[in-house]
Symmetry: C2
Subunit: 427 residues, 2 copies
């Protein structure tokens, strides 16, 4: 691990640089698969499922029977854990419901804003070595609360042509309306373009590797919205001398095990703490099953000493971490002053993994500095706000001349006419 | 105008098709300009301003003196109109402020959501024949209300190297912090990459031609957020026999004058009304200054007869209009049932131009069917929601085992460890 001592402000941007990915070579592949899915529909889906996932499926739709049989394999203890996590996620996202905003801006001019559900959403759940069923909760719970009508889940089949029982359990628990065994670029292409078996949706959510990321970016060109651009996961911990080195080390490692390109950073006002955390990391790393991955991520990571909390805060805002843990006496300074972060974890007993699973907050968060402009997934991600206005005769008499003047000054005479023709009748 | 009588549901998607644009040939140009701005900064900006806008500027920053001198040219009546419009827009967007959402999901697990301003935003205001100062209000008012720190406005200079006085007046009225004379692709490239004179921002807002649209799409690849994808403006009016044909014709024409690719649609349950509107359009069209533009847009537009309100509503939701006017006795059915629309205008005295200028709602709206997934610009567009959690000893004892079970089932041992190490100390 790299220890950086009191860096110059001019070096911050270099120090805080994320590992970059080049995607140009992927784009051609993604374009081609979209093209094929657009022309051949399910035939193309089948071809690429066979090619990438090594399995040929008669049907990619998961049936009710398949769900019922499969979820019996989920141990009861895990079922209960998933249910408790769901409860918390539901409670927190339900609390985010807003009511109609209504105001009479001028006498007779009634304006209001209402949020209505996105009717058709697609949830992408990656495959891989372990089933990421927690992401099913994070996406399907708010989708259902928002009132989305079609909630379509896509996830790549394993070598035997199935989805993990835990994914199916979470999906049926949270009201997913259709589950399809398709992954990668072809899944995103299917949700974007629609095929006989995959419904076309209006917005696609969920994490994925760089192929999925590029495919989601392409989906936006076809007019389909996405939750946010993705990137490798990251964690920044700020801690002063009061921090618990072994807790902090465990948090840094929990993020580091995600992937070799994960980035973990410790910012501290204490050199002693930096040294203790560094030692603790070495110790805890040894016994991890995903040691090889975590080791590589840790090698790219940084322990940064700064002189005081104010400099630390400024540096953290310049980075904009996805996950941000605060273990410092002056936690209020950081809580109030953090502008750019996805989710914030406060105090010694708030590990980042709590937010990944069960505290109730969402774990689909902006990474790669996107927290400067993007929210993490929340209830509003599944809604869109629409505005309404109803103007009475009095109202148009009150604001009519204003509209006429402005429209004329913008050279839009027909805009003006639409008011004039009404005012004439009323005057 | 095309009159379509009681179309088959299977023909809807063909009938409702928008005029398509191909952008592939523009992409190369946009990529090249981004590349040059990235390498040469202001030198490239200057080159393209000279090339596209036909003017070579010593400095592209608008000075305070320039603003003060220029805005004296805005007639007082227009100044007052702009101020009244600003008041209404401010009132409606201020009403959209939400408060902190806080909840204890499990005993000892405190979660909250707070919205914080996007620190740096860029507002793009197109040039062209007339100054679109109303868009300055629509973007700068909510940016200032949200608390954005840097509000940078870019707009192309005219042939004499200036911006329209009305744009400068609106900008200083609404707290824009920096005004730069730069337009088109090079403006978006500058805001995305930053140059010596143009600050790099986190999110770019505002309309533009297809060059600007493609440039904004490219900006997202560089990690800069955008308000929404753009497209030609559109209006759909639904009216029954009670509708006022001349009002409706004036509304359809107000949208048609925007551009030859604008789309206007009337859906009606009355053939008589369709005929009267058609006649009224011909009559009103003759005297419009932007007749040539409106005529072309009207040629592509459609008057659609359907049998009843339910079918009308379904068809309208399938289209997802940017602007939606309701002139029907059963307006409640449409107000409650509309799922996909940018902004809704209700009743005979609510012309669409009211929302363009002065009712208080925002006129930056999702077009091209994007209302199915996107909100129009609103206060939240300038904020991002962040989540926070603080877990007590009791809290981690309550949810710790749940996290351990789920992390283990996902094969993420280090995630589990971060909890285990804390639970050990507490038990």
């Amino acid at each position: 691990m790299q220890i950086i001592n009191n860096p110059n402000r001019s070096d911050w941007s270099e120090i805080l640089k994320r590992p970059t990915q080049t995607v140009d070579d992927i784009e051609a592949t993604v374009n081609q698969i979209f093209e094929e899915v657009s022309q051949k529909g399910d035939e193309a889906i089948k071809k690429y499922t066979s090619y990438f996932d090594g399995i040929s499926l008669d049907s990619n739709i998961v049936t009710t029977e398949e769900i019922q049989t499969s979820i019996q394999n989920v141990p009861e203890k895990l079922q209960n854990a998933i249910k408790l996590a769901k409860q918390n996620i539901e409670a927190f996202h339900k609390a985010q419901k807003t009511s109609k905003v209504e105001i009479e801006t001028t006498n007779g001019v009634q304006c209001w804003q209402e949020k209505r559900p996105i009717q058709k959403v697609g949830l992408y759940i990656p495959g891989g070595t372990a089933p990421l069923f927690s992401t099913v909760l994070m996406l399907a719970v708010p989708a259902q609360l928002a009132g989305c009508k079609d909630i379509v889940l896509c996830s790549p089949p394993n070598k035997t042509g199935h989805l993990a029982p835990e994914i199916l359990f979470a999906a049926q628990l949270c009201g997913v309306t259709k589950i399809i065994k398709v992954g990668g670029i072809q899944a995103i292409a299917g949700l974007t373009l629609g095929t006989a078996t995959i419904p076309q949706v209006y917005k696609i959510f969920g994490p994925g590797n760089q192929f999925v990321t590029v495919a989601k970016q392409l989906a936006t060109k076809y007019g389909v919205a996405i939750d946010m651009p993705a990137g490798p996961s990251e964690l920044l911990v700020v801690a002063d001398a009061s921090g618990n080195a072994s807790y902090i080390a465990s948090d840094l490692l929990s993020q580091a095990e995600h992937g070799t390109d994960s980035q973990v950073i410790l910012v501290s006002t204490s050199n002693d703490l930096i040294n203790s955390v560094s030692e603790e990391i070495e110790k805890q790393l040894k016994v991890l099953p995903r040691k090889t991955i975590a080791e590589k991520a840790i090698a790219n990571s940084k322990l940064i000493y700064v002189e005081n909390d104010d400099i630390a805060l400024e540096l953290i805002n310049a980075y904009g971490p996805e996950h941000f843990i605060i273990c410092a006496k002056n936690e209020v300074l950081y809580v109030n002053g953090i502008n750019n972060a996805g989710s914030v974890f406060i105090g010694d007993y708030t590990p980042e993994s709590a937010g990944d699973y069960a505290s109730g907050t969402n774990h689909t968060l902006p990474t790669n500095g996107f927290s400067k402009a993007y929210s993490g997934v929340n209830l509003d991600s599944f809604l869109k706000s629409m505005t309404f206005q109803k103007i009475s005769k009095e109202g148009i008499l009150n604001i009519g001349e204003t509209i006429e003047l402005m429209a004329e000054a913008e050279g839009l005479q027909a805009h003006k006419n639409a008011v004039t023709i009404r005012l004439k009748d009323l005057k």
